[in-house]
Symmetry: C2
């Protein structure tokens, strides 16, 4: 459950997360590849939406829009790639009840500035870090060649994404403050996941 | 004020719009290049936001998300290009009161389906068509080499954008119905613009 930081501004995935994903989740996900793909497509579009929402909220904050906009574009590109695979397999986006993970994490974002912006970066980064961890697992354990390749490719950018949120925080907040808050949020993220019944969703 | 359609599904700009931009607007825009650039950046981000909002609203509508997502990416790319020029000129995004153009047009979107989707496509297309017309004017009349080049390049994609909205409509609605509704909306768009005092904004 250790939460360590590297010396540079780009901590690797494992240092963001306070707990690893359960074996149960991996088994569920592998047994339901299409459901996970559909949910993954939703996650990518929601990640794009979240980056754009942040950009709109802090529009005149120098150094923000020019980083969040390319991030949103990349999330949309991933969304399109997942959608292409779904279409090739005769499926499409379907309404899929999302687990309460994202909504629960969003509740932890403090309501007043400057805490709100810091928490927004860290929560977004945590979600990216968890996605990265889970895509890594799918890239190893999925029995489907095409899906292994997909997750293997996408997770490289996911690592850049949580590094970006980390960097955005570091450019604006004191290091100790970020580390302390990330530690709290990471433990909360792990606690939220531990209470969810594993379902074939990226964040259940 | 004629509103004509070509034989294929891709009417050119002039056929969308019911009236040309006034000389007054051109003079105002050329005299205030930075204000227009800032406003243009806002327009690009809002266009991306609108495409994403449409995509989220009609998520499970086949053939939509895979077209709106690349469109949103391209709008974001334009946003970044305009922002880069602003930054190079020592400026950034600034809160700029938007003219009531977009809000007024949005009011014309009917509230119930299937009319709502059709109107959403046509209003989005009209805004793109007007942007295209005005960028064409700036690409010709701006005394600034860099800005002439910028507008000249961007307007090629703007033409693709309103064609895309046209195509999305054509894939789902009867041709005469679209033509009639576009005609109404185009006249309303022209009427909205004719009542606005020209300001250095893309849509004033």
């Amino acid at each position: 459950m250790g939460l360590l930081f590297s010396n540079n501004n780009f901590p690797s995935n494992i240092k963001w997360l306070a707990s690893p994903t359960s074996q149960e989740w991996i088994e569920q996900a592998i047994a339901n590849p299409i459901e996970v793909l559909i949910d993954h497509a939703h996650c990518e579009r929601k990640a794009a939406g979240a980056a754009i929402q942040l950009m709109f909220r802090y529009l005149c904050e120098p150094g923000l829009a020019e980083k969040l906009s390319p991030l949103a574009r990349e999330e949309l590109e991933h969304f399109e790639r997942v959608l292409t695979i779904l279409i090739a397999r005769g499926r499409y986006l379907e309404p899929l009840p999302a687990p309460p993970y994202g909504a629960e994490l969003a509740k932890r974002i403090r309501k007043t500035e400057p805490e709100r912006m810091l928490d927004s970066f860290l929560v977004a980064g945590l979600i990216e870090a968890r996605s990265h961890e889970r895509m890594s697992l799918l890239a190893i354990h999925s029995p489907d060649n095409e899906l292994r390749a997909l997750y293997g490719e996408l997770l490289k950018s996911e690592a850049r994404h949580f590094s970006l949120y980390w960097k955005l925080a570091h450019e604006r907040y004191e290091k100790q403050l970020i580390s302390n808050r990330l530690k709290q949020l990471a433990f909360e993220e792990a606690a939220i996941l531990s209470e969810l019944h594993p379902e074939p969703r990226m964040h259940s």
